[in-house]
């Protein structure tokens, strides 16, 4: 193998598994260390700069970082990264003086943002301080998009959302709420320099093909619309017996909301097997905790209606069968159909993009799924002035993806408005700093604690179920937060190897708790992986290979389960190993300067 090029900013970035997995690449270990140090405001600002909504995401993020967390590869549970983020938001001081406040000197460019969700708000935050005049349009009565209309208050209190949306609204942008945009052409005609579409995936799927569906108009609701109606106070009650169809996070929000609006017998009915449900495991767990049963492998067969009144639904029992390619099909088992009584049915079986308001003669190409064709890096559509982001761009994902896309769209818009090439993206900001603090001492807490993941306390169920606005998760207190933060392995503190200093004494090999390091003859990667001191079977994890040493061997380090404990560097007599903290930050529009 060729010696690893650690000058490539992506090499060490990839070692920080959580940050690499995060769509917005938030520097996770950096803020976790600040939380451990009690510097909540600083931790919050690192988040805010990267993901814009730390308080929201600390409660509702899909957490792609946690399955990636290295800790989960050496013990059972990853670090509770998401809930630590919330700690930063909960315990920070007033940070308003750290956040840029408008109005800013104008640069003469005008940008329209359609939709007021996380993607649009991110674009607004990135562009407003650069002097762009921002007009944000949304048909809801307040900003936040699906964060406001679809995430129930018992998971995300309105005050948290208001605060973080407020930081952006205070940047001197013009918000036009309660404003439905029915024509993109009309917006284009207003002469904006660029238009960003962040209208989400607002169309909830219904089940028109299920017999009986057309006979009932009342008592059957599409999940996301029902949730929005609850969020804005239009719906305050539901029947005692409720069926929720679907196994995603919207279904979880529907069933738990139904429990709070009077649903006593709330059932979740899902086509797929339990193990393949799309909802996040922790949301399923929370629903189960609220006495909501799951009926898996039940396919809706008919709505049972008597005299125009919904009585319930029948379901066919199926089993998941897999062909040789692993593709799943649901085959009826032949068991008798099941009937569930229901006063109300909530359909939460998916949502789609919907662009009836975009005229098809504006130069925006739509594909066969009726979604706009985009450049996946720049988020520019075939009409160069029109950019997309969030669920509206590449289909429904999650808040953190919307934020990440918003940042990139903002970079594109800034480049576009300055006449620069959209494909010459700014390099990430990186920094690599020694952590040495005297002989065998490090600035970071290198000791690896053995604590198991700490549980977040919940509000008492009895009380929680009576008030849909009462937040269920209470968050870590500072003491538990400290202990949870200490579980972080500091993967951003890199093991940097200096070939010319190595005397090949083997001290690092002997001391490494996880047998990461091998000195051996070089070879092709496939061959090298078989010759290391410990199996290196995870191909997604890189091998760090040095230049040839004096004995013509090379140092090979499998990054997979390195604990970043610093023992290799402590036991190295010549400081050939050094622990160096790597900071990687995605560059935002206008190349914001970093501390």
């Amino acid at each position: 193998m060729k010696a690893t090029d650690i000058q490539n900013p992506e090499y060490f970035h990839k070692v920080v598994d959580c940050q690499y997995a995060c769509p917005a690449h938030t520097p996770v270990p950096e803020y976790i260390r600040l939380i451990a140090a009690g510097k909540y405001s600083e931790a919050y600002m690192i988040n805010w700069e990267s993901n814009v909504f730390p308080g929201v995401l600390g409660r509702t993020c899909d957490r792609p970082c946690e399955p990636a967390c290295r800790r989960g590869r050496v013990e059972e549970q990853p670090v509770a990264i998401c809930r630590l983020k919330r700690v930063a938001a909960d315990f920070k001081d007033d940070v308003s003086d750290r956040i840029p406040k408008g109005p800013f000197p104008k640069n003469g460019k005008r940008v329209a943002l359609i939709g007021g969700g996380p993607a649009s708000l991110t674009v607004a935050r990135d562009l407003a301080p650069l002097g762009y005049e921002i007009d944000l349009f949304d048909n809801q009565q307040a900003g936040g998009g699906m964060m406001r209309s679809q995430i129930p208050s018992f998971r995300l209190p309105a005050s948290v959302l208001d605060e973080e949306v407020g930081y952006i609204e205070n940047m001197g942008i013009s918000t036009h709420y309660n404003t439905h945009v029915s024509s993109l052409k009309a917006v284009l005609d207003k002469g904006y320099d660029a238009i960003f579409v962040g209208t989400g995936a607002p169309k909830g799927r219904d089940l028109p093909e299920v017999p009986g569906r057309s006979e009932v108009s009342a008592n059957v609701y599409v999940g996301i619309q029902w949730l929005a109606s609850v969020a804005f106070g239009h719906t305050t009650k539901i029947g005692k017996k409720v069926l929720v169809l679907g196994g995603g996070n919207t279904a979880m929000d529907c069933c738990r909301t139904a429990r709070r609006l009077g649903g006593e017998d709330v059932k979740v009915v899902v086509r797929s097997p339990f193990s393949e449900m799309k909802a996040s495991p922790w949301e399923i767990e929370d629903a189960q905790h609220e006495d909501i049963p799951f009926y898996n492998c039940h396919v809706p067969k008919s709505f049972v209606v008597e005299n125009g009144q919904l009585k319930g639904m029948t379901f066919e029992i199926v089993a998941a069968v897999y062909d040789e390619n692993g593709r799943r099909s649901l085959k009826p088992t032949g068991e008798p159909d099941v009937f569930f009584e229901a006063d109300d049915v909530l359909i939460a079986v998916g949502q789609e993009n919907s662009f009836p308001w975009i005229e098809r003669d504006l130069g925006i190409t739509f594909d066969k799924w009726d979604t706009p064709q985009l450049d996946k890096v720049t988020f520019q559509s075939s009409n160069p002035k029109v950019f997309f982001g969030g669920d509206a761009a590449l289909g429904p994902k999650n808040v953190i993806t919307a934020v990440a896309q918003g940042h990139q769209a903002a970079v594109s818009i800034d480049l576009f408005c300055n006449g620069a090439s959209l494909h010459e993206r700014p390099s990430p900001f990186t920094n690599l700093i020694h952590q040495k603090m005297g002989i065998h001492e490090w600035i970071y807490d290198s000791a690896v604690v053995e604590d198991q993941r700490y549980k977040v306390p919940h509000a008492e169920k009895k009380i929680a179920l009576t008030d849909r606005k009462l937040e269920v998760e209470l968050g870590f207190d500072p003491e538990v937060a400290f202990r949870e933060a200490q579980r972080c392995l500091n993967c951003d503190v890199q093991t940097v190897f200096n070939t010319s200093r190595c005397i090949e004494c083997d001290a690092c090999v002997d001391v490494c708790p996880t047998t990461c390091i091998t000195f051996t003859e070089n070879g092709e990667e496939e061959d090298l992986r078989t010759r290391l001191n410990a199996p290196a079977n995870d191909l997604s994890q890189d091998l760090y290979v040095s230049d040839p040493l004096k004995t013509m061997r090379v140092m090979v380090k499998d990054e997979n389960v390195c604990l970043h404990c610093g023992l290799c560097a402590e036991r190295c007599p010549t400081a050939a190993w050094d622990m160096q903290k790597y900071l990687y930050n995605v560059t935002k529009a206008g190349a914001i300067r970093y501390a």
Binding site: R73, I503, C505, D506, A507, P513, T514, A534, E570, P573
Partner: protein
């Protein structure tokens, strides 16, 4: 500075045939200097015991005084241990071995502990062919007292203070050959590929097995001019043969041209496979081995590998015709047969 090693281990590490992981053979975190050769020797012992499927409680590790003699704390935490008086490990080991011949004895010593204060003990243990693996961590200086020349320092070797040694060096492998040792090997802490199979072979050898391991003192004797530094050792190392230890269950799969490979069967059914590097070299020839050691010294070579082996010489238990049962398992009546038996024994001698 870290004093505790994290408990997490590589999740895919295999278990050996007796169900232990490599971690079960480890000790506490070393407090020796960073880069000390002794830590590599400890690592080699851990590897050897893991790979030999030894149950840790079947091993007793004994040591004297010195940096080397601290190392039993850093490996085999689940084994028996005795940190004895300076230079007196061989006699403690002799006593332990006579009392319980069922354990495997691992003696750890250094050049100060064995070549100076413990020289008398060292040679007598060899004479008696005590069944022990004697690992001598040889760095040519007294590391624990800040690097004075030891009795194994070569003439002219320069220590850290810039002083060149004037006194003749004791070659511990050569001495062991002279004293009739039945297994003599030399190795280098920085060459685990050689050291690990040698330790395994030594532990399988029924008798006194010396491994003289050049183990550089990174703090006091790793400077230019030293003949026990990492660089000097690497530049002057010569091997008698590439060593491979083959447990008895495995079949030989590697193909070698005739005359290049020599299989030395060990009494426990395993064998050492030696790929000869030097022509006409015969590991059963004591006089040849003595000559080869002297020759290497003249040529400024550090001769490593298995130098000599004689498995047929009886060990101390055989020579003394002792009971096969460890003393702690003998019934009281047999262990202390009483005054009548003593009287009979005395009478027979009159």
């Amino acid at each position: 500075m870290s004093f505790v090693k994290p408990k997490f281990r590589h999740p895919d590490l295999p278990l050996n045939e007796v169900g232990y992981s490599r971690a079960d053979y480890e000790g506490v975190l070393s407090t020796l200097c960073a880069g000390c050769g002794h830590d590599s020797v400890s690592g080699a012992i851990v590897s050897a015991c893991f790979e030999m499927n030894l149950e840790p409680h079947r091993v007793a590790k004994l040591s004297g005084i010195g940096c080397s003699s601290k190392t039993p704390a850093y490996f085999l935490s689940n084994s028996h241990g005795f940190n004895s008086v300076h230079g007196r490990m061989p006699s403690v080991a002799t006593g332990a071995n006579l009392a319980n011949r069922d354990l495997m004895y691992l003696g750890i010593s250094g050049d100060g502990d064995s070549a100076s204060i413990g020289m008398g003990q060292f040679v007598h243990a060899i004479r008696r062919n005590l069944n022990i693996t004697y690992i001598l961590m040889n760095n040519g200086c007294y590391g624990l007292t800040k690097g004075q020349d030891s009795a194994t320092a070569d003439v002219g070797s320069v220590n850290k203070s810039g002083h060149a040694n004037q006194f003749a060096a004791i070659d511990m492998a050569g001495l062991a050959l002279e004293m009739g040792a039945t297994f003599v090997a030399r190795s280098f802490s920085g060459d685990k590929e050689q050291l690990v199979p040698l330790i395994k072979a030594a532990m399988s050898h029924p008798g006194f097995a010396l491994i003289d391991v050049i183990s550089p003192c990174v703090t006091f004797n790793n400077n230019p001019g030293s003949t026990k530094s990492y660089d000097y050792t690497r530049e002057h190392i010569e091997a008698t043969a590439a060593v491979d230890y083959v447990p008895f269950k495995e079949e030989i799969t590697a193909a070698y041209a005739e005359g290049e490979v020599l299989d030395v069967a060990l009494h426990d059914g395993s064998y050492i496979q030696l790929s000869k590097l030097a022509p006409n070299w015969n590991p059963f020839d004591r006089i040849g081995a003595i000559n080869r050691v002297h020759e290497a010294k003249v040529k400024n070579e550090i001769l490593t590998g298995l130098i000599f082996i004689d498995q047929d010489h009886p060990d101390l238990h055989q020579m003394l015709d002792t009971t096969a049962t460890p003393l702690n398992q003998l019934p009281q009546a047999l262990l202390i047969p009483g005054p009548e038996v003593l009287e009979a024994v005395n009478r027979a001698g009159r």
